[in-house]
């Protein structure tokens, strides 16, 4: 599994410099906006795109090659999920670090940085839990469309709900969210982990039946 992850990391190497430059650019932007959440969120979005890059590389012949190696199909799928988790941890740690620097410099509450990091992590896992099995079953291009849907649909629903609310309702809703922040984060985390487990099982089953 380590060998497979190493292969993915070497293949991704070409994107790393680009990735770091983009995150630094977003950090500068976030600093002027006084918004550490911005850099954390954008870091996560870039992380999603990196994960897509590794799946694209595998689709271009990497899977066929991996199957000629002494590894099982489940190990190939497992290495993707492991890369996803390790990648997410690295990305969130880096963007949280940048977020904290911005928070100190711009005098913003640290709690915003932590809340944003954890919720972005949960959201990232949740999104990838849906998208990876789609990529294994219907290829990366279709998974990209699904990804757009996953991000756009909840945003549209939230906007529509907010439009229907009056000022009092909005204030009540925001207060409710603030009071239950920790509960929301814990629930999101648990849902993300369960989703990821199911996602792995679905992907492994799909890939075991895949003919190359």
């Amino acid at each position: 599994m380590i060998g497979l992850m190493k292969k993915d990391l070497y293949c991704l190497k070409q994107y790393f410099r680009q990735y770091i430059l983009m995150v630094l650019f977003f950090a500068v932007f976030g600093f002027f906006m006084k918004s550490p959440s911005y850099v954390i969120f954008m870091g996560m979005i870039m992380g999603v795109s990196l994960m897509f890059s590794t799946l694209s590389v595998d689709e271009m012949g990497g899977f066929g090659f991996s199957l000629t190696l002494p590894v099982s199909r489940r190990q190939i799928v497992g290495s993707k999920y492991l890369l996803l988790i390790v990648g997410m941890a690295c990305i969130l740690l880096c963007s949280m670090g940048l977020g904290l620097i911005i928070a100190v410099a711009a005098d913003v509450s640290y709690s915003e940085v932590f809340f944003c990091t954890v919720s972005c992590g949960g959201f990232y896992l949740l999104v990838m839990a849906i998208v990876i099995p789609v990529a294994f079953r219907w290829k990366v291009e279709k998974a990209r469309i699904v990804l757009l849907g996953i991000i756009a649909l909840p945003a549209i629903v939230v906007i529509l709900i907010f439009r229907q609310m009056n000022e009092v309702q909005k204030e009540l809703f925001e207060q409710m969210v603030e009071m239950n922040l920790s509960t929301i984060v814990i629930v999101l985390g648990i849902v993300a982990i369960i989703a990821l487990l199911f996602s792995y099982l679905i992907s492994a089953r799909t890939f075991e039946r895949e003919e190359l």
């Binding site: 190493k6 292969k7 070497y10 012949g61 090659f65 002494p70 003919e211 190359l212």
Partner: protein, 286 residues
């Protein structure tokens, strides 16, 4: 005959193609050349052996053990060239070796580096900057650096210049010096197989038309150039294919020495593997 790979009634169907009940023993210590036109089923057959495709029927055995009962570890003993390494274009040859070190149980980094040096491959250069021949040589270095006992190559010499092709074939001949080693190689370039193969397996439209020792195949088959009247004298059982020209018939026969004895008036020329295959595919039947 001890078989390294044994296929028994292997059948794999796609929408417009069927690999049809292939039964074939790949003898240990030999090079078996798989030939056939495009779409004949060569790659499908290799994919079935490598578990990239699952046959609907039949059984495949590796060293007498059913493939379905083997764990993924058996591929530690196999060197494969089937899909190319273009996906790994951003890696260098050295990084590729480091990756494989973590994957193969018996990886020999020294051997790999020695091959890179022999092949004049710059280990620090990205794979996408390698020429086609260099990429193929890198694949060979990979296949030969983990103590593989079986090599399975799909068109390894395709699109390469004669010098590189010759280098690759020499390596295969070196590899087979160890009698426990086996090579299964598919190729369109029949002259390459003529040089190295011990056996020829000929696939046509998903069926195994012929599997024979190469020397026996070349010794037994012959081509007769004759008139229509002379052609009628040739026993039907020996005729494998005919090409009818305006003035002359060309007939591929299966037991040329016997024909020569029975019909001394006819001249039976030896046939190359390419001629035999062309007759079998395009020739008319008696």
């Amino acid at each position: 005959m001890d078989a390294a790979i044994c296929l028994h009634n292997v059948t794999k169907s796609y929408k417009d193609f069927t690999l049809d009940h292939i039964t074939l023993d790949i003898p240990k210590g030999s090079i078996v050349g798989l030939v056939g036109e495009n779409g004949a089923g060569k790659t499908t057959l290799l994919k079935c052996i490598l578990q990239l495709a699952t046959p609907e029927e039949g059984q495949i055995y590796i060293d007498d053990k059913p493939l379905s009962q083997l764990s993924g570890d058996w591929k530690n003993n196999v060197g494969v060239i089937i899909s190319g390494i273009d996906f790994a274009g951003s890696m260098t040859g050295a990084e590729f070796g480091k990756t494989m070190e973590k994957i193969y149980e018996n990886w020999e980094m020294d051997t790999y580096q020695a091959y890179l040096k022999d092949f004049k491959i710059d280990a620090g250069k990205k794979i996408k900057e390698y020429s086609k021949g260099m990429k193929m040589k890198l694949c060979l270095a990979l296949a030969l650096s983990h103590q593989a006992k079986i090599l399975i190559f799909d068109e390894p010499t395709s699109g390469l210049d004669p010098v590189v092709r010759d280098d690759i074939l020499d390596l295969l001949l070196d590899f087979i010096q160890d009698e426990s080693h086996t090579v299964l190689i598919s190729s369109h370039i029949i002259s390459d197989l003529e040089k190295v193969a011990d056996y020829i397996a000929f696939l046509h439209e998903g069926r195994l038309q012929l599997f024979m020792n190469k020397d026996e195949m070349l010794d037994k088959h012959g081509v007769i150039h004759c008139s229509a009247v002379e052609y009628d004298q040739i026993p039907e059982d020996y005729v494998k294919g005919i090409r009818k020209g305006q003035f002359c018939y060309e007939v591929l026969v299966s037991d040329r020495h016997k024909i020569q004895r029975e019909l001394p008036g006819l001249t039976v020329d030896s046939a190359s593997i390419e001629e035999i295959i062309l007759f079998l595919v395009k020739g008319e039947k008696k």
